[in-house]
């Protein structure tokens, strides 16, 4: 009896798992037609609500395409043809603007239309598969799910579609669509000389990328130094915060330390204060006339009118930023390592002590390897986070000191802050997009090389 029941279930679940190709191959005429007339198979078999919903999607899409979508796709290819004109109106004595095409909106609407089309293709496949499932059940004389059954399945086998629908819509509309749009911008001439709505911009292929890498160009002369500083910064910021934070956690957690809670509180205090507050006050503290310079003058270490150029000398600025970042980052590491340190099996330490290992050896042979093993994914995230660490650089030095050899960048600019300057300040959106893509390539390479080798990626389900 038990076996029979299981078999029944197997057949029952089969049509739902059929792929689109299978559905098309094995489906009858109505099923195949359902790929083009949405919901047909459902409507014929009295699954009215399901069928009508499918059909409404198709009608809506067709109405959209006829009224707007087809034109939008055409505009996306040309990026607009009519430039905004200026006509002198003699009767009024003013310049009048004739309405032109807005290349930016052409591109944006084109991208949106492409996404809507992709969604409708997806729904077409769903419609076809749904028709096939109904056909299959009818042939086998199985129960055809009513609308009520469909709703019920949302709390059971289709729970994932219910829980994921809203988050995924949010991600598509506000993350993926904008991203695709910006990636496409990298292949256009959307810079400060081609600003819609006044001017048109056009597709230029790879020329922005070649400009970025061309020997002797100002862009290339900016890109490579900024890239190398970004990498140096990311390595230094991640490693210093990690090592010092770990040492601090060890110091607080060691057996002899009293009032552990109090020490932890002192360091956590700086985590709890909003970062822009601490960063902005750090900026004041290290300013040419800020308290640090004042103190140094009072102690007579520097002259009464001198000041140490914490943010105006390139080398000093870099050192200052890394030191301030230690101040910010160490408590975070301290917090997250504390929990893990307490999880290291005590027997390991005991065994080592019996063998006569000294404290440094224990740290080197047990604590550090264990921490590295557990925290590798964390380290990678913080490395990529540091490559994109906008706040620290922007609020501390603003990328400065500026350099004449660079294309609108300063000596402490990271790729990400340079991207900000290029887009928000300079309006060179195409160059900003190129930087964004290059940053992505760097991050993807680093993450793929390291992340795929970590245990937590390989046996993701090991704990279940």
């Amino acid at each position: 009896m038990g076996i029979f029941k299981k078999k029944q279930e197997l057949i029952y679940s089969k049509p739902a798992d059929a792929s689109t190709a299978q559905a098309f191959k094995h489906g009858d005429l109505i099923t195949r037609l359902s790929f083009f007339i949405f919901g047909l198979g459902n409507l014929i078999n009295k699954q009215i609500v399901r069928g009508v919903v499918f059909l409404l999607f198709e009608i809506g899409y067709l109405a959209y395409m006829i009224s707007f979508g087809i034109g939008a796709l055409g505009d996306m290819i040309t990026l607009g043809t009519v430039e905004q004109g200026e006509v002198y109106n003699e009767a009024l004595g003013i310049y009048e603007y004739s309405l032109g095409d807005n290349s930016m909106l052409c591109l944006l609407y084109g991208v949106i239309t492409l996404f809507i089309t992709a969604a409708i293709v997806f729904i077409a496949c769903m419609s076809g598969k749904s028709a096939y499932a109904t056909q299959f059940r009818k042939e086998k004389n199985m129960h055809i799910p009513s609308f009520r059954d469909d709703l019920k399945s949302l709390t059971e086998e289709n729970l994932h579609s219910m829980l994921l629908s809203l988050p995924i819509i949010g991600i598509i509309v506000f993350t993926i669509v904008p991203l695709v749009f910006m990636i496409l911008i990298a292949f256009t001439s959307y810079d400060r000389d081609h600003q819609p709505p006044g001017k048109l911009f056009e597709w230029v292929g790879l020329s922005n990328f070649t400009a970025m890498f061309s020997q002797g160009g100002k862009l290339a002369a900016t890109f490579w130094p900024v890239l190398s500083w970004t990498l140096i910064w990311a390595v230094l910021a991640t490693s210093t915060c990690y090592i010092l934070g770990l040492m601090l956690a060890l110091l607080i957690n060691r057996k002899g330390t009293r009032i552990k809670g109090f020490w932890r509180f002192m360091f956590v205090l700086s985590v709890a204060v909003p970062q822009f507050v601490t960063l902005l006050s750090m900026r004041t503290i290290f300013n040419a006339n800020g308290p640090v310079n004042v103190l140094l003058r009072d102690f007579g270490i520097i002259g009464a009118t001198e000041s140490i150029p914490f943010f105006t000398n390139p080398l000093y600025a870099k050192i200052t930023i890394i030191c301030i970042n230690i101040w910010i980052g160490v408590p975070f590491t301290m917090l997250s390592t504390t929990g893990i340190l307490q999880n290291i099996p005590g027997e390991l330490y005991e065994a080592a002590r019996i063998d006569g290992a000294s404290a440094p050896t224990i740290f080197r042979k047990i604590t550090l390897p264990y921490m590295l093993f557990v925290m590798t994914p964390n380290l990678i995230t913080s490395f990529t986070g540091n490559i994109n660490n906008f706040n620290v650089i922007f609020l501390l030095s603003g990328g400065g000191p500026d350099s004449m050899d660079y294309y609108y960048a300063g000596k402490t600019d990271l790729l990400i802050t340079w991207l900000y300057r290029l887009t928000i300040t300079q309006k060179d959106y195409n160059l900003g997009a190129v930087i964004g893509i290059l940053t992505f390539i760097i991050l993807a390479t680093v993450s793929l090389l390291t992340y795929r080798h970590t245990g937590s990626y390989k046996d993701e389900g090991a704990f279940q």
Partner: protein, 284 residues
């Protein structure tokens, strides 16, 4: 042996005291400046000549002017509450699905999320701005606030790693026991998993609540010059702009102290959850 241990212990404590002194110093400077009576930005001394509470009192009497601290505070509070609720809901949904349910697109979704996380966040900001404009969200100040809530919470589904790691550690046998008792997967999610996940829920709530208080870039791009609808971060930044800095410099620090206190209390109350959440995910 005993004296040696005593020396080591004392050295450690002295080192800790020295380090915590360094770590607390900048915060102390912020508090000190917030009580300074003499206006203006940089001074050639550290200890204020006179102390006053006026910086705090004046903050609350800025109504009607461009610098309206109370209004910024409430703006941010409302935005933070709404975006926290939405993003916490999104994060919990996605992480539960990724941890517990197995379906066709799962692996693909995980990989896509990983890839999306590698693009610089505000690379897409310009496009987001125009999408919101196209949807008509940038017409009035209130709609701009709604737009800000959407921006903060819409993509939050991607930040599911931490919570997924936590869910991964809840034994699956508990779920199976519930299924045998006739619970649907939805019931299990709501009545079993959620009540067991207090630390990670608190962690998710705190992190998404903190976001709007400290975000500068998105808020600035969306709000433009609508000072009335500013959030606290761009509002305080405004005080440091050239035309305001001489008068508002000390008030800026008073404002910083005021917003730090609730965030600090919140953080300390939930610190244990934070630690549990962080280390839990790492283990998973």
């Amino acid at each position: 042996m005993k004296t040696k241990r005593f020396i080591v212990n004392s050295a450690c404590h002295i080192l800790l005291a020295f380090l915590s002194f360094i770590w607390v110093l900048p915060i102390f400077y912020v508090i000190l400046t917030s009580f300074r009576k003499e206006g203006g930005s940089y001074k050639s001394y550290i200890w204020p000549k006179e102390y006053t509470l006026d910086n705090y009192i004046n903050l609350f009497h800025g109504g009607g002017t461009n610098i309206d601290f109370v209004r910024w505070f409430t703006n941010t509070l409302v935005i933070a509450i709404f975006s926290t609720l939405i993003s916490a809901f999104f994060v919990l949904c996605v992480s539960y699905v990724m941890s517990r349910l197995r379906f066709k697109m799962r692996k693909k979704f995980l990989n896509i999320a990983l890839i999306l996380g590698m693009f610089p966040g505000f690379m897409s900001m310009v496009a987001v701005y125009y999408i919101l404009k196209g949807l008509g969200f940038l017409e009035t100040g209130v709609l701009k606030q709604v737009a800000l809530v959407i921006v903060y919470s819409a993509g939050s589904g991607l930040g599911f790693y931490m919570a997924k790691g936590f869910f991964d550690m809840i034994p699956k046998t508990i779920d199976e026991a519930a299924y045998i008792d006739g619970a649907t997967k939805w019931d299990t999610f709501i009545h079993i998993t959620i009540p067991m996940s207090k630390p990670i829920i608190t962690y998710t709530l705190i992190t998404s609540f903190m976001g709007p208080w400290v975000d500068y870039i998105f808020a600035k791009v969306i709000m433009g010059n609508d000072t009335k609808y500013y959030t606290i971060a761009i509002g305080l930044w405004t005080m440091l702009e050239k035309e305001y800095v001489e008068y508002y410099y000390t008030q800026f620090y008073a404002g910083c102290v005021i917003i730090s206190i609730p965030l600090l209390i919140l953080f300390l109350l939930t610190q244990s959850c934070y630690v549990e959440g962080v280390s839990g995910a790492v283990k998973g």
